[in-house]
């Protein structure tokens, strides 16, 4: 009954892409809230995480149902496994986005460090690009694009090191900066994890295409 299965796969495919794009938007908003220390916008992003969690549950439930009812094999089965696994990765990205937004509520505007803030902005922009590109690669089922995106995760690692160094040296010179500096490092760690989860999604795109479980992390 290939027609029903195709229809259901298409619908799940769209729902997955929608979930990914919504998280990308949330990431942009979180970055904006962090930059402007906009508590209202930060709260919107935090509250929206609940919806992202629901989207993951919905995708898992539907994908499981399609596996049970349609008994997909081969390529169709891999598509569903990818949705099951990668939706979990997207949900985790959503959690890190929410944590990023929460940090906007914790760092007082008067204690901002412009070098670190600038690096966090760039890092979040890079994450956003990775996320958008990986969703596009998912939509296009483009394995080589996915591999390229995974490689660009090196850049998030680079930003993490940069922010950590800057925070550490500032903290050494200014003990009053310790709590804010620690928060900056935590934010950078969240953004770095987003890059890791995007890499996971890239691995699932490779799996959909080739059936091979690969490790694309370049650590």
């Amino acid at each position: 009954m290939a027609k029903i299965l195709l229809k259901q796969l298409k619908s799940l495919h769209q729902d997955f892409a929608t979930m990914g794009l919504e998280i990308a938007t949330a990431l942009q908003q979180a970055a904006q809230a962090f930059r402007a220390k906009d508590q209202k916008l930060a709260q919107i992003v935090i509250d929206h995480d609940e919806k992202i969690n629901e989207q993951e549950i919905y995708l898992e439930k539907k994908a499981t149902q399609v596996i049970a009812l349609q008994q997909p094999v081969s390529n169709d089965l891999r598509i569903l496994i990818t949705i099951l696994k990668a939706s979990s990765d997207l949900e985790r990205i959503g959690d890190h986005v929410a944590k990023f937004a929460q940090a906007a509520l914790k760092i007082p505007a008067e204690k901002k460090n412009s070098i670190i803030e600038d690096a966090i902005t760039k890092m979040s922009q890079h994450d956003h690009q990775m996320l958008q590109k990986i969703i596009q690669a998912y939509i296009d089922n483009d394995e080589s694009a996915a591999q390229e995106i995974a490689k660009s995760d090196l850049e998030t690692d680079h930003y993490l090191r940069l922010i950590r160094q800057e925070a550490m040296s500032t903290m050494q010179n200014d003990p009053d900066f310790v709590s804010v500096g620690t928060e900056y490092v935590v934010v950078a760690a969240h953004l770095e994890r987003i890059g890791d989860y995007v890499t996971n999604v890239a691995e699932w795109i490779v799996y959909t295409n080739s059936g091979k479980i690969v490790e694309l992390g370049f650590h």
Binding site: M1, A2, I4, L5, Q65, A68, L69, Q71
Partner: protein, 269 residues
């Protein structure tokens, strides 16, 4: 009497909350006896309109007996008691014209059984018997029935060819077309694809999914994958009892009764 390792009193029957007009058919305390042997034990089941309901269960579970009772095909073979409501009427009562019942509730059997006639005449036979003579109307009926059964494109240029010259899958779709030519409300199908190859089976399944837009479909199948693929509701029969009835997605992902779980998982018996 067969002893079951399962508790037959433990059942889970989804009560359909739809209003009566949204139900195609409803049985009440339906019992079937072959001589002294009871085959169906007082079952109550409601079928939603424009949905596909699968009846599944092992051989001898009573699913085909139950199906055949729904349009009085057991008359003269078995004694059927209880009520079968169709449009508010108990069609299991004595004073009902069974031929009228079968016009509204058609049946397609396990093995394709086209008449030894042309494709066209297979469709028009029952219509002519019912007094339809207008050639244009007959031709229109041939076309629409064959289109509904997804056979038109394959046979439109050879309608006068013998129906027996068609492949098994085409013959079965012709039998579906022949049944829907009478414009029934409900289609009963008794393992319609069990004698067919996987490609023909897939075509029949696709046809049924299209047909549910116009008809209510009740299908007996041994093929659990088929039940899970195409049906909206599933009823699991065991030793003449309906053990579980629910939406197909629930039956196949989280059945409430152990016997159902064991049957669909292949650990039955």
């Amino acid at each position: 009497m067969t002893i079951s390792k399962y508790d037959l009193s433990q059942t889970a029957i989804l009560p359909l909350k739809q209003k009566d007009r949204e139900l195609a058919l409803k049985t009440q305390n339906l019992q079937v006896f072959y001589g002294k042997n009871q085959a169906i034990f007082g079952e109550n089941l409601a079928f939603e309109r424009f949905k596909i309901t699968s009846l599944i269960g092992a051989s001898g579970s009573g699913k085909s007996t139950f199906l055949r009772s729904l349009n009085r095909m057991n008359d003269g073979i078995a004694r059927v008691t209880g009520k079968i409501f169709y449009r508010g009427l108990d069609i299991n009562s004595q004073n009902i014209n069974v031929y009228e019942v079968r016009k509204h509730i058609g049946m397609v059997f396990q093995r394709p059984n086209p008449f030894s006639k042309s494709i066209r005449d297979n469709i028009t036979f029952a219509l002519r018997q019912n007094g339809l003579k207008d050639k244009e109307q007959l031709a229109a009926s041939v076309e629409s029935s064959l289109k509904d059964a997804a056979l038109w494109d394959e046979v439109k240029d050879e309608l006068d060819k013998s129906a027996w010259a068609l492949s098994g899958g085409q013959q079965q779709r012709l039998c579906i077309a022949r049944t829907i030519a009478m414009k029934p409300d409900i289609l009963l199908l008794d393992e319609p694809a069990s004698a067919l190859d996987p490609i023909s089976t897939s075509k029949i399944e696709e046809t049924l999914v299209e047909l549910k837009q116009k008809y209510t479909i009740i299908i007996v199948t041994h093929n659990m994958q088929q039940a899970s693929r195409i049906s909206d509701y599933t009823a699991f029969f065991h030793l003449g009892h309906i053990i579980e009835y629910d939406k197909t997605k629930h039956i196949f992902t989280n059945p409430r009764i152990q016997a159902t779980n064991d049957y669909i998982s292949g650990n039955f018996g």
